[in-house]
Symmetry: C2
Subunit: 194 residues, 2 copies
């Protein structure tokens, strides 16, 4: 299964592609950053990023696109642009009939390092080890996109998103659901509108 991860951003939008084989063996396929110039009008920047994402989707034809879930609470000045690029990635996937998944940064860190609050360097280190890379993918946005894709691959089969029924879970799925809930609480809950 080919998984394409997106780390959305208006200036730099990371794209990472991995292949998830038998026994959850993961291998590196591609990593890149799509850029738009801050001095350009917003509409042209969105068009540039959208066209770049479409080109990646058409080149790799992923089975699923995994996108960072953006929070309204984050008071970064870039949050709206980030949300818009995440929206473009969802649009481009929907136009191609490719399913999308959203994972928060905490979910990604938890899936890759076992710690939802892990520092960036630790996540990068694990991305390298999991994908057997000799050096860290650069720039950092690219590593985050690969981490998004890895998170989607490593989540327990049938991993439960918040709000779904949890009666019939395996032990591993229950453990995952509990950890997800903890990670969510740490971020003030998940915004369901995003």
């Amino acid at each position: 299964m080919l998984i394409l991860g997106v780390d959305p951003g208006l200036t730099r939008c990371g794209v990472g592609v991995i292949e998830a084989g038998a026994s959850r063996r993961l291998s590196f396929v591609h990593v890149d950053v799509i850029r738009s110039k801050p001095e350009q009008p917003q509409d042209l920047r969105l068009l540039t990023i959208y066209n770049g994402l479409c080109a990646k989707f058409d080149r790799f034809i992923p089975d699923v696109v995994s996108i960072e879930r953006v929070f309204a609470q984050e008071n970064r000045s870039t949050v709206l642009g980030t949300a818009q690029v995440a929206g473009l990635a969802m649009l481009a996937a929907a136009q191609r009939g490719i399913p999308t998944a959203l994972h928060t940064p905490s979910e990604v860190k938890l899936a890759i390092t076992g710690n939802g609050m892990a520092p960036k360097a630790q996540v990068e280190n694990m991305v390298m080890r999991i994908l057997s890379l000799n050096e860290p993918p650069k720039p950092a946005d690219a590593a985050d996109a690969l981490a998004q894709a890895i998170c989607h691959a490593l989540r327990p089969a049938g991993a439960i998103q918040g709000g779904e029924r949890e009666e019939h879970l395996t032990a591993a799925q229950r453990q995952w659901a509990v950890a997800m809930q903890k990670a969510r609480r740490g971020r003030g809950g998940i915004k369901r509108d995003m």
Copy 2:
């Protein structure tokens, strides 16, 4: 000049089209609301709204698309979805080479009623009078989209957006710039990333 106003929203996205003729005479052309179902996945909802916007743009071929500027500060739970739909409108316009303009709700109220804090009913009333409508456009989202288009038509020629040079303005342009600054201050400043 044909102006298409967009009141972005994921559940209801208003679209209003007006013709701005000689002497700033404005006439009503079209009003509608594009809807997506809250129970659908986010990516399919974005696709539905995007397709609806593209159909409107291709039907009316507006000279400019005027879109509500969204603020990160607004702590409405819908702000990210709203920002994403605004992004889709910018994308659809850019794909067609149609210029876009962004106006805040305060700018719209100011342009239409002379008061940036005017209540909704007053704005609706003025939309009816300006466009010589016999009854208020419904639903309310539709009135807001027409108001967006009217705001763009009524702004002073060469109206200055915040941050631009103000030395060579006419008296009317200066008055507009000052009022815009006041309206912005009232909202905690404009987010330039949006």
